[in-house]
């Protein structure tokens, strides 16, 4: 049982025979990123909605996300440890989620602010309630800006997770730290390339989702 649960180990100086290791850490990396970004979005939306509805709160809320982002990641893992435990994956995932706020909150608010006033006015005048107007009119029009933020947040999360390698929780970052410790250059490079490929794929996926969500922008570009 213990053996089955422990992560696979890089054997020898070469790539051959170590694909399982790369696959294992890539899967872990994807899982960390997904949970962190989804959590980040779930946190960012209410904060951004509040900042949008109460503009006085926007600067302090934004400052809050900036301060969180300014905390060095290793320090943040340590700070979260007492609440979430030291040996599980929670501190790194929660830390990543908190870091995304600095981008997501700002982009959601700016996206909502960029919705033309006359469009919001028309929606209100035609009889939309506040929440329905937000969901049906303001949010869809903010999608391009939100997607831009999501792309940035996701790519930066994928890259930032590797720092966790230093505390043994960095997913593909483990390949950097282990490769460095044991002087296995191939392992180190495998980690770097896997992170870059992952970031590119994630970016393309989100970009595609963004396009699918905004058919009006495509139609206008075509014509």
């Amino acid at each position: 049982m213990l053996i089955a649960d422990s992560p696979p180990y890089w054997n020898g100086p070469q790539l051959a025979g170590n694909w399982d290791v790369i696959r294992y850490y890539t899967a872990e990396h994807v899982r960390f990123t997904l949970i962190a970004v989804v959590m980040g979005m779930l946190l960012a939306f209410p904060i951004a909605y509040l900042a949008h509805r109460r503009p006085v709160l926007y600067p302090p809320l934004l400052a809050g996300t900036n301060i969180i982002y300014a905390i060095p990641s290793l320090a943040l893992f340590a700070l979260l440890g007492p609440f979430l435990g030291y040996t599980n994956d929670k501190p790194i995932i929660v830390a990543m989620a908190l870091y995304t706020l600095v981008i997501l909150v700002r982009n959601i608010v700016e996206g909502l602010r960029a919705v033309p006033a006359h469009v919001v006015d028309a929606a209100t005048g035609l009889g939309y309630g506040r929440l329905r107007r937000f969901v049906k009119v303001e949010l869809p029009l903010a999608v391009p800006t939100i997607i831009a933020g999501l792309r940035l947040a996701t790519v930066s999360t994928i890259s930032l997770i590797t720092v966790g390698g230093a505390i043994g929780k960095g997913a593909l970052g483990r390949l950097f730290s282990d490769g460095t410790d044991r002087k296995i250059v191939v392992e180190l490079w495998a980690g770097v390339i896997a992170v870059i490929v992952l970031a590119l794929i994630a970016d393309v996926i989100i970009l595609t989702i963004g396009r699918l969500l905004t058919p009006w922008n495509r139609a206008v570009r075509r014509s």
Binding site: P116, V119, G125, G129, W216, A219, V220
Partner: protein, 341 residues
């Protein structure tokens, strides 16, 4: 019917935008709310659908206090058209038009059928249905804005400078179309504009507001033009009030006399086809003067224009084949607005 009774709007900073304004818009009439910026005309309009709540006074809509109604239901029952159309950029023309029917819970099919009917009514083809607003011209967008406002067939229509963002030619077209629609639909309309010509064209009544939201005068376009209440109204309506008045009437309504009348001894020379070829004084063929004609269907300004173009100051009204039916002298024109016409 919309009734405003001593309605005042004082904003948080103390500015009085509308001051003790009382107005009535009877059913089926178009009230043009005219004024410069700062005259509170848009504020007045927005108080009717409660986008702005009045500080004091009451607004009655078909006999019911607007404040006693659910605000969203009130708005769904009032068509709303604004400058720049305010269309939803992320929705197709069809989905823009079905907005209020969908909010009212119509099923998709009924809302769609209604939207197609409206597209036709506002002069847009069915091919426009699947386009997005950014793929339309400014004039087309405004037509969609009007169609969207009419979708649930509300008895009231609020229009806030609806044609303010399009060029003058398109604006004139849209005004004509609006008048055509209004003849058909008989909505009760409040139409905000800062353009005197637009106000007298679309309004059955014109209400002119002065700075601070005080009513300067309300009346029919002809009343406001011919009997301005004070110097402010006279000045606002312009130094060409008589000409504007002529623009409101068909040429046939301008005082005229039979073509056989001989003002100052001038008589019309008529050719074999019955067309006027020139003016002769006391039958002297050597001293023929050119004829300036007014085509059928023209407005009163064409009569003035023809009279001014004529060397002897007489406009000749003609029918399609060019035969004269009547003549108007400059003297006749000067009686416009003084005598009932």
């Amino acid at each position: 019917m919309i009734q405003l009774d001593r309605v005042t709007k004082r904003f948080a900073d103390g500015t009085v935008a509308v001051d003790e304004l009382s107005l009535e818009v009877p059913s089926g009439e178009v009230l043009a709310l005219l004024g410069t910026s700062g005259s509170g005309k848009t504020t007045t309009l927005r108080m009717i659908n409660r986008l702005i709540e009045p500080t004091s006074g009451t607004i009655m809509i078909d006999g019911r206090d607007a404040r006693s109604l659910n605000v969203h239901e009130l708005r769904r029952g009032i068509g709303y058209v604004i400058q720049q159309a305010g269309l939803f950029p992320h929705r197709t023309v069809l989905d823009n038009i079905t907005t209020v029917p969908r909010l009212l819970g119509w099923d998709r099919r009924r809302a769609r059928d209604r939207a197609m009917e409206l597209l036709d009514l506002v002069g847009l083809g069915a091919g426009m249905a699947k386009r997005y607003p950014a793929q339309l011209s400014g004039g087309q967008q405004q037509r969609v804005g009007v169609a969207r406002a009419l979708a649930a067939d509300p008895p009231l229509l609020l229009m806030d400078e609806p044609f303010g963002a399009v060029d003058p030619i398109v604006r004139a077209q849209l005004q004509d179309e609006f008048l055509r629609l209004q003849r058909e639909l008989h909505k009760t309309v409040v139409f905000v504009t800062h353009d005197v010509d637009e106000a007298i064209t679309v309004g059955t009544k014109v209400a002119l507001l002065r700075t601070g939201g005080v009513l300067a005068q309300i009346g029919t376009p002809a009343e406001v033009l011919t009997e301005p209440a004070d110097a402010f109204v006279a000045d606002f309506m312009g130094t060409d009030r008589q000409i504007k008045l002529l623009g409101l009437m068909p040429a046939s309504a301008v005082p005229s006399r039979p073509p056989t009348d001989e003002p100052d001894g001038w008589s019309l020379a008529i050719d074999d086809d019955g067309r006027a070829t020139g003016w002769r004084r006391n039958g002297d063929a050597a001293a023929t003067r050119a004829v300036a004609t007014v085509p059928p269907g023209a407005d009163g300004r064409a009569v003035l224009d023809a009279a001014l173009a004529s060397p002897i100051g007489i406009a000749v009204h003609v029918v399609d084949d060019g035969r004269p039916t009547a003549i108007s002298t400059l003297g006749d024109l000067s009686r416009v607005g003084i005598e009932p016409c």
